[in-house]
Amino acid sequence: MALISCKNASFDYDGNTVVSELNFEVDTGDYLCVVGENGSGKSTLVKGLLHLKNPQSGEIIYGEGLKSTEIGYLPQQTAAQKDFPASAYEVVISGLLGSKDFSPFFSKADKAAAKSNMELLKVTDLAKKCYRELSGGQQQRVLLARALCATEKLLLLDEPVAGLDPIATNDLYAAVEQINKQGVTVIMVSHDVKTAVEYANKILHLNNEQAYFGNTAGYVESEVGKVFLGTAPQANAALGGAGNV
C-alpha cells in the first residue's frame, strides 16, 4: 500500500475546477517533484494533501497509518510572518505542537528534538536571533527545521527556493536531499524543473490536469518533459522559454 494514493481527485474554488484527474501514488522514501507553470494548481494540490482543502471529487488516501499530524509543511511565505517578532528557536519548536495532545508546555524531549533539527539545518547559532531579521535563506532553513519537528515521515515543500540566491538555493536543496536520504518522504513543488529532475525520483507535471506522472527518467524522455525542460527542438518557439522560469 502506498503512503499516499490520489484517485481521480480534482479541486475547485467556488465551483471553478482548477485542477482535475489527478492519479498518482507516493511511496515511502520517494522524492516527488510537482512542476508546472504558475496557476497550474500546484499549491492547490498541496492544500489538498494537507487536508486544508477537500477534493471536489475523487479521493486522497493515506496509507501506512500516516496521520495528518505527522506531515511537515514548508509554506509559500505569507506577508504576516515577515515582521513577526519571534526568535528562530520559538519558530522551530512550535512545529512540535501538532503532535502533542493536551500538554500545554514543551518537555525536555521536545526541546532536544528542536535542537537536533536546528543542528541538522545548521541554524543552531541563529536560535536567539529574531526571525524577521534573518536572510531569506536562513528563514527558509528555520521553517524547514520547524517542518521537520512536525514529521518523521512526510515533508511537503511549496516552492521553497523562491526568492533565494543561488548559494542559499543549493544549500536548501542539499538539506532536503539529506533529509530524504534519512528516510523522510519528500513532496516538493518547484519552478525549477532542471533541478527537479536532478534530485527527484518521481515527477508530477500539472497543467490544470495531470500532464505527466512517473519516474524521472521517463519524464526527461516524455514529450511534455522535453518541452518544459527545453530539450525539444521546438521548445523555445512553443513555450517562449518557459522551461527556464
Binding site: 494537507l50 505542537l97 508546555f105
Partner: protein, 272 residues
Amino acid sequence: MFDIFAEMLSYPFITRALLVGVLVALCASLLGVSLVLKRYSMIGDGLSHVGFGSLALATALNFAPLAVSLPIVGLAAFLLLRLSENSKIKGDAAIAMISTSALAVGVIIISMSTGLNTDVCNYLFGSILAMSGNDVLLSVILSIVVIILFVIFYNRIFAVTFDETFARATGTNAGLFNMLIALLTAVTIVLGMRMMGAMLISSLIIFPALTAMRVCKSFKNVIICATIVSVTAFCIGMFFSFTLDIPSGASIVVVNVLYFMVFTLVSKIKKA
C-alpha cells in the same frame, strides 16, 4: 508622590479600581500581542462599541452591567470572527458595520431612557468610580481565568498567531484557538470598559503590544515587555487621573502614547 499614592490607597474605591485595573491591563496586553500580529486589532475596537451598546441596554433595563455585557460582547466576538473568516464581506468592513450599528443602538437606548448624563459620559471615557463592590469580585475572577487560559495555551496561541496555515496543516485546531482569543478579548474588553471607557479600551489592547514590538525580538520578550508597559502605564495613568482630576481612560492612553514614543526613539537610536 508616595504620599499621594498612600492617600489614594486609603480610598476603598481606588484600591478596587487599581486591583481590577492591573489585572485587566495584564489581560489586555497579553491578548493584544496576538491580536495585533494577527491583524485583528480592529476586532478590539468593534467589540468595545458593542460593549457600549450593551452597557446602555443594561442601564436602561436596570440590570447588572457585567451580566448583560459579557454574553452580548462574547456573541459579537464570535460573529465578528465568523464574518471576517467566511463571508464575502471584507473583515474590516464587517467590523465597521457591527460596531457602528451597536453604537447607534446604544445611542438610541440612552436618549430614550436616561439621556446624556454623567453615567453615559463615564461609559464613553472611563471613570475610576465605576466599579461597584459586586463587580470587583467577578472581574478579579474572570481576569484571572483569562490569564490562566492564556498561559496554558501560550504555545498554541503562538503557533496559530505566527502561521495559522502551518498550525492547521499539522493538526492544531486553529479555528478553536481563534475563537478562544476572540472570547478572551471580549471578556477583557467588558471588564476594562468602565474604567477605560468604551471609546478608549481598545488602546489598552493595542498600545502595549505595539510598544513592545519596537524593541523586543522574541515573542516571549514581547509578551513580557507588553505586560510591564501595560501595568505601569495603567498605574501612572491612574495617578494622574486622581491628582489632575481627569478621566482615567484618557489619562492612561496618554501615558501609553508616551511609552510608545519613547520606545520608538530607543529602537531608532539602537539601529543608528
